[in-house]
Subunit: 147 residues, 2 copies
């Protein structure tokens, strides 16, 4: 069980490292063939075709000047048999080519399945909350307490 | 396995029914003691104390005139041993006392654990995406294709 927890954490770390290094193939290799995503960006659902599309991931990498850093706070990992779920707050920082310095805290929930080729991500949910004051503004400047 | 899947679906249905009936105690009874939530509303993380607070849930119910309907589209349920995850798009409709008719499609990812008293929700992630055009607007008017 402890070993499985570590294996799941390694997959998440591999994904973060791949994004930091702008290595689209390595990022996509952490996804299962049937992955689906609820992403920060629209639409409501990202299909496996979109999520596994190397060209569009590379296009997104190109909007950043230098590395895209994603660091997780305390990650909860639950594993049973061949199913795992991990959730944490994540902090994305870097410099956008057109918009300069970025710093965004978001929530991440990741579901993994043990496949014949190891633990793979089958579902990814990333988001920020929105203001309930009628403005409909996404809350992009929140941070966890003490950060 | 099929039986566990059905039990998990029943918990989700119990939660939706409790919200529709504005029965705070019944809604909270679907949550584990150690539940945490990434909610549509801020803050980034809802603690178990907040999520299990009957008074604040009743306060939210009181902002609606009549029932709050939450219906799920196709729900994917994964179960292994005592761990389960379910995800789907959900459609919330009703009439707000101050703002009239509401209709919101959002993404829902729910993690459950089998406890001594049955399947309980340990983690809930609900969100909408936001516009990446620099406006920072939460996308409250999206709908799945064909809906």
């Amino acid at each position: 069980m402890h070993q499985d927890q570590q294996a799941v954490r390694n997959v998440l770390e591999t994904l973060s490292s791949a994004i930091r290094a702008k290595d689209a193939a390595a990022a996509i290799a952490t996804y299962a063939d049937d992955v689906t995503g609820y992403d920060l960006a629209p639409p409501l659902v990202q299909s496996s075709v979109t999520m596994r599309d190397r060209a569009s991931l590379e296009q997104w990498f190109a909007t950043w000047d230098g590395p895209v850093r994603i660091e997780a706070s305390d990650t909860t990992v639950e594993v049973d048999g061949d199913l795992a779920v991990a959730w944490s707050l994540r902090h994305m920082t870097g410099v956008k080519v057109e918009d300069g310095d970025q710093s965004l805290w978001f929530r991440s929930t990741v579901v993994l399945r043990r496949k014949s080729n190891g633990w793979k991500i089958v579902h990814l949910h990333e988001s920020v909350p929105f203001a309930m004051d009628g403005s409909g503004i996404a809350l992009l400047e929140l941070a966890p307490e003490g950060m």
